[in-house]
Subunit: 387 residues, 4 copies
């Protein structure tokens, strides 16, 4: 069996982007609950993200969402973040909150609205030049609610054309990552519902177009680690949106619903070359802390990713391959589960301490006074949310 | 084969409650789109509901939601509705939008919060006395998002006690109907997730406690008509919330996603004595017209229920029973589908005309000028929504 | 609205392949029930298939499964079929019933077993040369039951290599169609679980490699018509395996579970150029008549496809496009559903009679004496099944 | 945090029934693979079951299936088992493999067939008197494949009557446990598809009628631990059929697909009084070892149950309740997951050794020579399977 000390050096490679919107309020269509200390400004969101990194060493980047995180001077925001020890990461576009987009944006039948949505992406690319971001992430909330409402095929053709126009605007070092989602907010058909659709589009665009895999965006029962393995094989896995779910796109804390699934996903990431130097895969969170505390929720999330990465690294690859080749089903499975069942928490605590990080980041955060401070400071104003 | 003229008299028995909130704005957690002419007041919602009845003859009642539809004088509202030709129907309680209910209401560990939720239901019962409503419908948005967050078992016990207290407050002619829902807004466990749970509770309460079946509130693949048959057999089907879905609780127009399923449901309703004189089953809609026009959406919905009721009535029950008893699988299925495939629309149009109703209600509505009128009249103010 | 007489000429284009194995016994892992008259030989299966065509005019080809349908002289079988008025269609390979394939065939770690599976496909290609079949259909029953059991990524790489070897053996006029399936018989991962995987493989192989879409092989809630539209757009839809399902791969009669879904699928087929002259799409059935009569079951199936094709052809494409472009959600949906709700059965009966076919093929079959004849003739021997 | 030594005494309470059929061959509708050493007789199955107990101390009973395990002298079989250190447990009836039951057994329209199925259960009760079994387990494979095929409601009524007749035949100390299943082998409707239906029937029967919960028999996404909590609350959880699944009723090794779910289930069992002295809940396995070795598969299964029971016992109930009552979502979840993440394997190994059991039962079995012996001894004859 592989030991923790053997895998410890590889833990240095872990870097997870946290989303700015996780620090704002979120909820369901029924209710958005607020909480004390919630940021009112982009800067406050960045400060919270930097806090997660300070306590974990795992979250050196914060993703932004446009227009939610629009500021006048992104250069200043970048310097502000860097002063706090983090960078600005992926830029997320938004084409689902303008009245014009009620029936579509990049797929709309009206060329004026398509162009408006394309222009929004051009503006995002401009932001990327200022923030130094590599990735433009496109999640399309588009689709239809009723059969016949739209022309499924025609929408694909228009989508391809819109994506082509956006892709061609990218700088040499920039990438387009196209997210897919099974359903919601559209309830009959979604224009990019599955990895196959996202793959077909990015394959047509070119090398710097890749797929974004959100772990909550699949049909019930989907084997997500298979998709990870396949996309890595095809050279097209660009990024992850980590979260977890029991039902639909629940956006719960990653690893909270099925830690063994997270382990299996990370095993395939490592197996397929998606982890460590040379990997092109961005690891992001995309969660909604509807009822739980937000900053500790994010800390818990990045720790969960780290814990399962450590367990996945512990799999004895050679023994596993031998058992697989011998056709020993039970032995292969046991080797695999041995790594999952190994409790790495104490080793990770020691590893953190050796790097000047708190052994128990959640508890350290709770004892730090940061939460009390922001609750006191952030009185008044409008708490940030999805707008 | 049964003919339309044979079943026509039974169509008189059809009466569908429409929900006041269907006329207000609704949407997803991502965006609520408004639309011109949306009501600003309860009275305007009632007026729209009455319009649906005027064009269809199918919707003689409007359900209210408390506190969304709170008015100072429910007696006056009742008279207003009656003047427009409809009545006030089921009263829906709401224990999911107050900050106190973030982690539970009727199930909360804190007795103060439980009492607050119970008191809200007492207030609803007071409203019912004024509106003349028979049914108090309880949809519990309660549950937890994370394993361990709550004590599943303890929550059931508290729920039972809270429901008992509410039930005992009901008047002699009033009923409690308990809705169940698979998930959302809670994403790990829901306190009343399935018909079995609702049934266990209402069976413990007494005769005037019944189950409400929302057609969108089931796990993927669930055979809903089986549940209908079972609840009718157990004497515990109190009401329907009709809508349709492809994925989760999509709240689409009833019959839009799977008309054959609607047919099968209505067949079991009729088979089990849930339709017509003597039935205790209330037929309600519960839909969200997120992107389509609201009043025509409601008209389409009640017409869909009527069309599928007519088809279900057309099933040749005697021939079907013979084929079933003969074990002739294909013949039985063909007799069943024959009724479904029969196009009753022309017959229904004639039937409507014979009653002074428009042959084509949607088109009649669109040509009536009502929509243009409300768009002109309802300028200013705040459009109604889920608050 | 489009009329039946306008679309009638296009009904001539319909041709559906029926599977030889539908006439043999099938069942679940719990029990395979036999029935009187079940074929004992390939010739008897072909005779039953020809009977379906004789009564419907819709099923001019029968698909064969190797080795279930192995005969010494396929040229003779071909002549036998042609004498009965049908041809031999797609050849289906089988790499799931040999003990060697317990843990994989085209993906196996052992090169000897991979070569054995490849050789089986070479043998199928030899058969195709004799039968004049165009398509080699590969359904891979491969996968694993337990995490860790196999190397998901390595299996893909071996699969790609095996498929390449088979593809290169095809004749100029022959095609390889690769079926995908969500799960079963493997219960953790399947090597070709979704259309994306099948597409990625056939895109890598070349022009004569295409995807086979079995309508029962998807995750719950999957929008199948979207996949149809996408594959047609990508030029990669090779064939259909039609059947229907409520839960998993139930293999019920096509159109029996959700006729509206079948309508939507056929609409996208037509919309995307997959129907009629010039289309490369093969329409096949793949069903299990576990409890119902087999020949009438197949007759019912091809009729269901025809009925829904007629309805789909009836959609008023121009009116639909106008409503879609106007953003009129309800009108577009109504135009779409109007066609679905139109009862074409009487028109189709007349159309059939005008071609010398029975107006009511199921009833004609039942009255023909064929069933009684085969029940009398096919005494003794071993009824055909999945072996 | 609770320590292992605190919970160790409670591990003595664990007793799991293993199914005789797990030692025979099983598979899918596509193929049943055999394996060397598979039992040919009931005695050989019992011997294998006893071997599982000998290596684990966890499996003191073997469940029998009638007629698969019919013997002339059940008294002798009982003595044979007792000599090997185990007892005979639950008796499982079978009404799905006789041609008469093709369209139903306890629900059939034909009274002769219903009586035949009832008589079979009477015969099972006779067996129970000889074997000393407490429980008659009824899994009904009944249902329909096509809408209209059967009268859903009438079938329920006949089912209730049949169950009543069987229940009344039970001895004073005997129980009836009614299993439910979402689908398969029926693919449209199943007569006992969910816990609610099973509950409604057993509640009507009386005190000694209880529900059997098979962990693989639910719709996708179903929260099984909720059902456990609910049935314990209602006093109606009679037994478990443990196994695991990714998709449908996959019948994989319990804990293999989602160990965290198994932990949550066992937590609710303990929470609700279903574990330990005084509990009426029988813990059984019901698995199919289609491709893996059978005896080690069963050993792995009972160990998985034990490991997750230990982890569930480790939950710090007091701290959990405090966090729940404080509304601290993250703290409560962390307390819960702490127990799950605790690696109890070394402690359990020591605990086993202290009882004279092998520290590592799977490895001990593999080194024991038992497998080689049965492979040598069990040459010839017909391997046991599902018939």
């Amino acid at each position: 069996m592989t030991t923790f000390s053997e895998i410890a050096p590889r833990l240095e490679d872990q870097a997870i982007e946290v989303p700015s919107w996780a620090y704002g309020n979120s909820g369901t269509r029924f209710k958005v609950f607020g909480s004390p200390g919630t940021p009112r400004t982009v800067e406050e969101k960045v400060a919270d993200a930097a806090t997660v990194h300070r306590f974990t060493g795992l979250a050196p980047l914060v993703s932004l969402h446009i227009p939610w995180d629009l500021v006048d001077d992104f250069g200043a925001l970048r310097r502000y973040a860097e002063d706090l020890g983090i960078g600005l990461g992926t830029i997320n576009s938004n084409t689902f909150q303008d009245d014009d987009y009620k029936l579509g944006a990049l797929t709309h039948t009206d060329p004026r609205i398509r162009q408006k949505a394309i222009d929004h992406h051009f503006a995002c690319i401009d932001v990327m030049h200022e923030t130094g971001s590599r990735d433009l992430k496109i999640w399309l909330a588009e689709g239809t609610n009723y059969p016949g409402q739209g022309d499924i095929r025609g929408r694909q053709d228009r989508l391809a054309e819109s994506l082509r126009t956006i892709y061609e605007r990218l700088g040499e070092e920039q990438r387009l990552v196209l997210e897919y989602k099974f359903f919601e907010p559209a309830f009959y058909h979604t224009d990019v519902p599955d990895w196959g659709t996202s793959y077909a589009h990015v394959a047509a665009l070119g090398e710097r177009a890749l797929v974004c895999l959100d772990t909550g965006h699949h049909a019930p029962g989907t084997n997500i680690e298979f998709i990870v393995a396949q996309l890595l094989r095809l050279g097209k896995l660009g990024s992850f949106d980590f979260n977890s779910r029991f039902y639909a796109d629940d956006d719960l804390i990653v690893g909270a619903a099925d830690p063994y699934q997270l382990f299996r996903i990370l095993f395939e990431v490592i197996r397929g070359g998606g982890y460590g130097p040379g990997s092109q895969v961005a690891f992001m969170l995309d969660q909604c802390h509807n009822i739980e505390a937000k900053i500790p929720g994010q800390i818990r999330s990045v720790l969960n990713v780290q814990e399962m990465t450590a367990r996945a690294l512990l799999v004895d690859a050679e023994a596993l391959r031998s058992a697989q080749e011998a056709g020993d089903v039970l032995a292969a499975n046991e080797i695999f589960m041995d790594a999952f069942y190994t409790d790495v928490r104490a080793d990770l605590a020691a590893w953190r301490e050796s790097r000047g990080l708190p052994a128990r980041p959640v508890q350290a955060y709770l004892g730090s006074g940061y939460q009390q401070q922001i609750e006191a400071d952030r009185a008044g104003g409008t708490q940030a949310g999805w707008n």
